[in-house]
């Protein structure tokens, strides 16, 4: 067994054991962190790995959340049914939006994703016989799986924990696979990848769809957890928040978005008790990271570990090489 499996099993055991020694309030907090961690991981596929920065990712979260919520209220709370609904709807949305967004890049991509997500937001706001409009959807029944109802928040927590572990493991393989390496290549130098014979648009489109679908799944989980959805979950500030989670945690890494989600959720919980200037504080955290720790929490941890593990290498090796030119 190598290091990765050990770490993975340690996290699995921690997630499984948490309800035995943490109060319910903290378990709910953990559920929220894990949901947003999945959401941040999903954005990270296209943003951190393929280099496509989106400011509209809440559209997928909201689509998944509303799809699961509306289906549970109007048809059946069967989880396979509602989760499949969330996946299919976010897949369709990502498939359509992606077609347009793939035509542009950089700043224009950012603006286009923002525009599409605001369209989804205004749709949610208008279609109030389905979505409850500005009031949102409340009293959504708990998900049911094989006759078992997840009405207890600890069971919901386990459900979320399990899905988190599956998605994390799956994405970890994906980003390290040949496919994932192409996404990294596109991020670093798309021109070169084309010259190597890669149809980069197709890979970017695939990454966009994977991001959208997993984003939709995190939204569905949020509905299971909360029993309530508000239109603000589709608003662009939600897209901004998840973007900050990825950047603060460390884009283009697997643990980064998880740590970023944890930091932001914890911070919000602590701060909300004292002040309502949450956005101001979130903004400050973001600025501090961008300026002082551009590689995020993951980068800080990595540096600390490196310092611990090996004595300092000769720092001049690199600069000498450069000067040989």
């Amino acid at each position: 067994m190598n290091n990765t499996y050990v770490k993975f099993i340690a996290v699995l055991v921690l997630i499984a054991a948490a309800p035995f020694f943490l109060p319910l309030f903290h378990i709910n907090l953990l559920s929220e962190i894990l949901i947003l961690a999945i959401f941040a991981l999903s954005l990270n596929v296209m943003m951190g790995y393929a280099g496509m920065v989106s400011l509209g990712h809440a559209a997928f979260f909201g689509t998944g959340a509303y799809a699961a919520g509306i289906m549970a209220q109007n048809a059946s709370a069967n989880m396979i049914f509602t989760l499949a609904g969330a996946v299919v709807l976010s897949l369709v949305l990502a498939g359509i939006v992606g077609l347009f967004c793939m035509k542009v890049s950089g700043f224009y991509f950012l603006m286009l994703t923002l525009a599409f997500s605001q369209m989804v937001y205004s749709f949610v706001y208008q279609a109030n016989q389905w979505t409850g409009g500005s009031n949102g959807l409340s009293g959504i029944p708990s998900p049911v799986l094989f006759g078992f109802s997840f009405s207890n928040s600890v069971w919901v927590y386990y459900l979320i924990g399990l899905i988190f572990l599956l998605i994390f493991a799956g994405l970890r393989v994906l980003v390290k696979s040949p496919f994932g390496q192409i996404l990294i290549g596109i991020r670093e130098n798309e021109t070169r990848l084309k010259s190597m014979g890669y149809n980069t648009s197709m890979y970017k489109y695939a990454a966009f769809i994977i991001s959208g679908v997993i984003g939709g799944m995190s939204g569905a989980l949020y509905t299971y957890f909360n029993g309530f959805i508000a239109p603000s979950d589709v608003y662009w500030t939600m897209s901004g928040t998840v973007l900050i989670m990825v950047l603060v945690g460390g884009a283009g890494t697997m643990t980064g978005p998880v740590l970023g989600a944890a930091l932001i959720v914890l911070l919000e919980t602590v701060v909300a008790a004292y002040t309502d200037m949450w956005m101001l504080i979130l903004g400050s955290v973001f600025i501090i990271f961008v300026i002082f720790f551009p590689s995020g929490i993951h980068g800080i941890l990595q540096d600390t570990l490196n310092k611990w593990q090996k004595p300092k290498l000769n720092p001049d090796v690199k600069s000498v090489k450069r000067e040989q030119i």
Partner: protein, 252 residues
């Protein structure tokens, strides 16, 4: 002889500015062609038209009798028309090995695999091929070093190695030895001589010693046209070339 590449009446304008006008010629399989011309003559532009990085304003490009004028660059690369860049164009934050693996994994047909981690154990033949190439190109000791921390000359070497690694049919080298030291240049020239005989090579180069050593046919681009398309000996002796090209570049 088998014609592999044909250019028929190709022109290129940028805005109103005409860079190349009505170029036509054939390339036979396995030919070694040197392209020279003063700076700004449109040599790199010409390569861009062959690779599909730019579309011609007029005319057609044929590959093995197939019209590929409108084909995007990645499709032409898959057909085997592969280029290297005048300015190093690498994935600099990645290691030398990772740069190379990206080239090789498409050849091995595993690029769409997303359910298997790419490592030495899972993809042994892929890694072995990469290691062989690194060995041949004298870059084995830099295998796991990030490209950005290598010297300019080594980066240049990788630029060319990535082109060769795909086993192209037609290899277009845009000033491969630019900025290299004499010993690095010699090393590259030797490796270019070792390329398979059926590989078609077109090489833009300012170092005339290098190009006369490799090319068996020379194309001189001047004033939007092909001024000369003949053997290196003819080009060497041509008074006009001496005046417009060699004269401005200094002594040979």
């Amino acid at each position: 002889m088998e014609c592999i590449l044909k250019v028929d009446g190709v022109s290129k304008q940028f805005g109103g500015l005409e860079i190349l006008k009505d170029l036509s010629f054939h390339v036979n399989k396995g030919e070694r062609i040197g392209i020279i011309g003063p700076n700004g003559a449109g040599k790199s532009t010409f390569f861009n038209l062959l690779t599909g990085d730019l579309a011609p304003s007029k005319g057609n490009v044929f590959y093995k009798d197939k019209d590929i004028t409108t084909e995007p660059n990645y499709k032409r690369a898959r057909r085997g028309i592969v280029r290297t860049f005048q300015k190093n164009n690498l994935l600099v934050p990645l290691t030398v090995l990772d740069n190379l693996l990206l080239v090789l994994q498409r050849k091995h047909g595993i690029s769409r695999t997303w359910f298997k981690i790419r490592n030495q154990k899972q993809y042994e033949t892929l890694y072995n091929e990469a290691d062989e190439l690194l060995q041949r190109w004298g870059l084995k000791h830099q295998r796991n070093v990030k490209v950005e921390s290598l010297s300019y000359g080594e980066q240049r070497q990788i630029e060319i190695m990535l082109g060769v690694a795909t086993n192209p049919d037609v290899l277009l080298l845009d000033e491969p030895t630019a900025g290299m030291s004499q010993s690095e240049t010699n090393y590259i020239v030797q490796l270019l001589h070792e390329l398979p005989k059926d590989l078609t090579l077109m090489i833009i180069e300012h170092d005339l010693e290098v190009i006369f050593g490799i090319a068996e046919r020379m194309i001189v681009l001047y004033d939007k046209h092909i001024l000369i398309d003949d053997s290196p000996d003819v080009v060497r002796k041509d008074p006009q070339v001496n005046q417009i090209y060699i004269g401005t570049e200094g002594a040979v």
